[in-house]
């Protein structure tokens, strides 16, 4: 079933190889970024939506 893909490459391998290269580099960079993130920061970030709520607002401030 992959015959169609390999047959279509012809003289345009450069585009495909460039795409593969970009793809590869991109994911390595993202992986390094992920590895370098600290646990404490991750916890802080994932808590952000939970600590923005209106319940924290003092009643005296309500309009």
């Amino acid at each position: 079933m992959f015959k169609q893909f390999t047959e279509n490459i012809n003289a345009n391998q450069a585009y495909l190889l460039f795409s593969l290269g970009i793809f590869f580099v991109f994911f390595i960079v993202v992986a390094i970024m992920l590895i370098r993130i600290r646990k404490s920061h991750v916890d802080h970030m994932s808590d952000l939506p939970l600590h923005d709520s209106d319940t924290e607002t003092p009643q005296s401030l309500q309009l």
Binding site: Q4, M33, I37
Partner: protein, 708 residues
């Protein structure tokens, strides 16, 4: 440092919420009307302004840009303020954004039924409205970035990156796909032609799904789902990977809409490869959402909002698994142009976008009105009727798609097409189309019940237009320790985030678009292909006005089942003067790429007057107004000039004789019709559209004869 007191703007959230519900009901009602027209053509009420070809784009634009669009702004304006601990940057900009967007939608409601369209799918609106969209989109971005700059939370939560990527990518897509040369106030020609136009359009079309229907909704999922389930997202690291992988890969996948067309083979293959890779980030996001509910599944049993979210995520998972499968050439050869694709997009639209929107509305409205939901029972009813509606919609459409495609591909033992008449396959699937409209009606009923429920909720509460909040101001940047992790730094630099997202989407865009747009050898020209005559050009514009492209494709794929049925498969060089391309994406009727000279002029005349005269049982609408309306030739000169500017080789000064040529050709067709006892004046619109239909695909036929 003292905490600062400020107020969240809930009124703008409420306004976008109201617009979401109203436009949702309108858009879905139009959808139901056109669904009924597909088995009962008389449902167009005999009126050109309510006929399928013209209001199908109204349906798609209304649900995408009006229903989903307003829901995006509702969700973004609610979550952005809270995630950044700041009021929206400017109330004036918020209001301009809101009313500007509604006016754009209103202009679509007026212009599309009038037949004012570019014919680019999901980008049908004509050039003045395109400019208005650009302005309002900039207002939205200005307001969003203004808010980001005055925030009280240093790091940007993952939802906001999705919003930023949405803003910048939609801007790029919209601008590149709107390069049009105006001919008059509401008529323009696309700058690109043929295969290039097709490539740009489907790069746009595919990524409009990605960055309008997907990324903003993922951002809202990452904000609202943790709120609804009251627990943090399953994996924040996975959400980072999800974000970068999704925006990087999505942009490459557009060519899977053009498999087996004349698009260069390498571009098709690249599109397929990236489409398959797209499963990974899509499912990563879905799994991240579903696992956020870990330990909270007992809540799903009681909480209708979570039920909506679970179905939304499941629909997202199904649609994003199916998408890559559909991009496999073998699967695509069956699914493309069929009702299968209609099922696929509606699983996404009704399930993912619709249900996530409903969950947000049920969650938001009681909160900003400081009250409880009016009726949980009605919400539960909405959930079940909506879910059943999706099933009744999707299953018959899958069935219809398979049935019709397989019928059209079937050969007899003698090697002849088993169903040489396309209409046979249409009649076979009419029951499925009836069931589909029942499914759609159920879904719409649910939305109407929701509208009632939310209205009662609002009436029993009181809108907290300005909601008080308190937060510490941001400390100056020099006081914080240098952050070693790249991504942590990126998370507090919105402009760098914007540029990074832009670069990521531009890589794929350039690799895919540039070679086909700039290297002329990618589009081999054919000497026999000549520009359209003035009458044919006018006929083509009528074809565009009536939205024929919504049901008839104009590209024959290189399959024996298609070359037997339609004729020689299409070549890239045949479309070099087609501004815009009219390949279409759905065959509700047969392909027309080789329609020219297949039937006589009288056949076309009678067929347009009443399709059932020539094809008993046909579901095509009657185009009786073409027989009575006079062709507007006042723009012929401007059209010829515009085409010449775009590179169509009309001889210098040709525009001066164009209308005389047009008259001559029209008189010949009228005389030919007269010989068949059809009395018609040569200045009627039907003459122009017959001229165009008779031209379709004949350049190559002429070439063949010449070579013999």
């Amino acid at each position: 440092m003292q905490p600062e007191n400020f107020y969240y703007d809930n009124k703008i959230v409420r306004n976008f919420g109201i617009a979401t519900v109203i436009w949702g009901i309108i858009g879905m009602t139009v959808g139901l009307i056109i669904a009924i027209q597909l088995y009962h053509p008389g449902a167009n009420m005999g009126n050109q302004y309510t006929t399928y070809g013209r209001i199908r784009p109204l349906h798609t634009n209304a649900v995408i840009f009006a229903f989903v669009g307003n829901a995006i702004f509702m969700g973004v304006y609610y979550s952005l303020q809270r995630l950044l601990k700041a009021r929206m940057f400017s109330d004036v900009l918020s209001r301009i954004h809101f009313w500007g967007w509604q006016l754009i939608i209103l202009s679509a409601v007026i212009t599309l039924p009038l037949g004012l369209t570019t014919s680019h799918e999901y980008a049908e609106l004509e050039w003045p409205i395109d400019i208005a969209i650009t302005v309002i989109w900039v207002v939205f971005g200005w307001n969003m970035f203004g808010t980001i700059f005055k925030r009280r939370e240093r790091h940007l939560y993952v939802a906001i990156w999705f919003y930023i990527a949405t803003f910048i990518t939609i801007a790029v897509l919209h601008v590149v796909n709107s390069f049009e040369l105006p001919v008059s106030a509401f008529k323009s020609y696309m700058v690109y032609a043929g295969v290039q136009d097709a490539l740009v359009q489907w790069w746009y079309g595919h990524n409009a799904v990605a960055f309008f229907l997907t990324t903003p909704y993922l951002g809202m999922m990452y904000y609202f789902l943790p709120k609804m389930a009251n627990r943090p997202v399953y994996s924040y690291k996975l959400s980072i990977l999800h974000f970068w992988a999704l925006i990087f890969i999505y942009i490459w996948a557009g060519p899977h809409h053009l498999l087996y067309t004349t698009l260069p083979g390498w571009a098709q293959s690249l599109g397929v490869a990236f489409s398959i890779m797209l499963i990974a980030p899509s499912w990563g996001g879905m799994i991240n959402g579903l696992l956020t509910l870990r330990g909270a599944w007992d809540k799903v049993r009681d909480d209708v909002i979570l039920k909506f979210m679970v179905v939304a995520l499941t629909a997202y998972g199904m649609a994003t698994f199916e998408g890559p499968m559909l991009s496999l050439k073998q699967v695509n050869s069956i699914a493309h142009f069929s009702d299968w694709i209609i099922a696929h997009v509606h699983v996404g639209a009704l399930g993912w976008n619709g249900f996530l929107t409903f969950a947000m509305l049920y969650w938001l409205i009681p909160r900003i009105y400081k009250t409880e939901l009016f009726s949980k029972k009605l919400a539960s009813f909405h959930f079940w009727i909506g879910t059943l509606g999706i099933l009744f919609y999707a299953i018959p459409m899958y069935w219809a798609g398979f049935t019709q495609s397989l019928m059209l591909k079937e050969f007899t033992a003698e090697g002849m097409l088993k169903y040489p008449n396309f209409l046979e396959s249409t009649l076979q699937i009419l029951p499925m189309h009836m069931m589909r409209s029942a499914g759609g009606a159920m879904y719409l009923l649910g939305v109407i019940v929701m509208a009632y429920n939310l209205t009662r909720t609002a009436l029993q509460g009181k809108l907290v237009a300005n909601e008080a909040a308190q937060a510490m101001p941001l400390a100056p940047v020099h006081t914080i320790a240098r952050e070693s992790a790249w991504h942590r730094r990126l998370e507090r630099k919105p402009i760098q985030m914007l540029i990074a997202a832009l670069l990521v989407i531009l890589v794929g865009t350039f690799v895919e678009l540039m070679p086909t747009l700039t290297i002329s050898s990618n589009i081999p020209t054919i000497a026999a292909v000549k520009p359209y005559t003035p009458l044919e050009l006018q006929g083509r514009d009528l074809y565009i006005r009536e939205g024929c492209v919504n049901c008839h494709s104009q590209t024959v794929r290189p399959f024996r089942s298609e070359t037997e049925r339609y004729g020689e498969y299409s070549k890239a060089g045949e479309f070099v003067y087609d501004h815009p391309f009219l390949w279409g994406s759905k065959r509700t009727g047969p392909d027309l790429a080789r329609e020219g000279q297949k039937y006589g002029n009288a056949w076309h005349y009678n067929h347009l007057m009443d399709p059932r005269l020539m094809s008993p049982g046909s579901i095509m609408p009657e185009y009786s107004w073409l027989l009575t309306q006079t062709l507007d030739t006042s723009l012929t000169v401007a059209k010829i000039n515009a085409m010449r500017t775009l590179g169509v080789p009309y001889a210098p000064g040709y525009e001066k004789v164009a209308n005389a040529e047009l008259d001559k050709q029209a008189k010949a067709i009228a005389a030919n019709l007269g010989a068949d006892h059809i009395k018609v004046k040569s200045d009627k619109e039907v003459i122009a559209i017959i001229a165009y239909l008779q031209r379709l695909g004949t350049d190559i036929k002429a070439n063949k004869t010449a070579n013999k």
